[in-house]
Symmetry: C2
Subunit: 125 residues, 2 copies
């Protein structure tokens, strides 16, 4: 069974290669809870279960052109790890290019990710 | 009462100025729980209450010469925020110089930090 650090390192490796769905398939538990900071169009902030999270990942891969993804970490302690993402993407439909900076906080149980929460970088005031 | 984002922004500002104790005095609740990844000499991993956390901060300020502290974030969602630290310090007693990279996960309730947990960067394998 993978330790928290092993799960964290594999997740970071998949994300650095842009293999978002492989990360879900390999590392996520079937009862995963995934929490975004805000609801998006057609998507609630909180998703439950591997099927909903696969749906979100599928939407991401189909709708976003990823120019670069800088992935920092993992930072690991106990059953928790944190990964930092700096992603430069263009939304294919609107051709809007966006730079997004956020962290994910992940919880691991029985060698699988069971909870993830994303926190965006606060706007400079 | 400060929002999570206001507390987070103030904490980052204090840390960038090296004002570690001011951050505790201004922003921490009296029942703060502070969790390090590992116990240190003479210090358990988990500390409870503002007096213990002041003690840890006092120990830090007295025993460490901070050459630089890069502070990233804050990343904020709901009652939670994350800050990234890259700190270059010399332990005064041993003259040992260390570069430490970690994140803190903070919980805010009633405008005060009530829980903090530190997660070190995983070693490259």
């Amino acid at each position: 069974m993978n330790t928290t650090e092993e799960v964290a390192t594999k997740l970071v490796d998949y994300c650095r290669k842009g293999e978002w769905m492989k990360a879900v398939d390999d590392l996520y538990g079937k009862d995963i809870v995934s929490v975004e900071a805000h609801a998006m169009e057609n998507m609630p902030a909180e998703m439950r279960g591997i099927d909903q999270v696969r749906g979100k990942t599928d939407w991401w891969e189909k709708n976003m052109e990823v120019h670069s993804a800088k992935v920092g970490g993992p930072f690991v302690a106990g059953d928790t790890f944190v990964v930092q993402f700096d992603v430069d993407v263009t939304e294919k439909a609107s051709k809007k290019r966006m730079q997004m900076s956020e962290v994910g906080i992940y919880k691991v149980k029985d060698g699988k990710v069971t909870h993830e929460q994303f926190l965006p970088l606060a706007e400079k005031k």
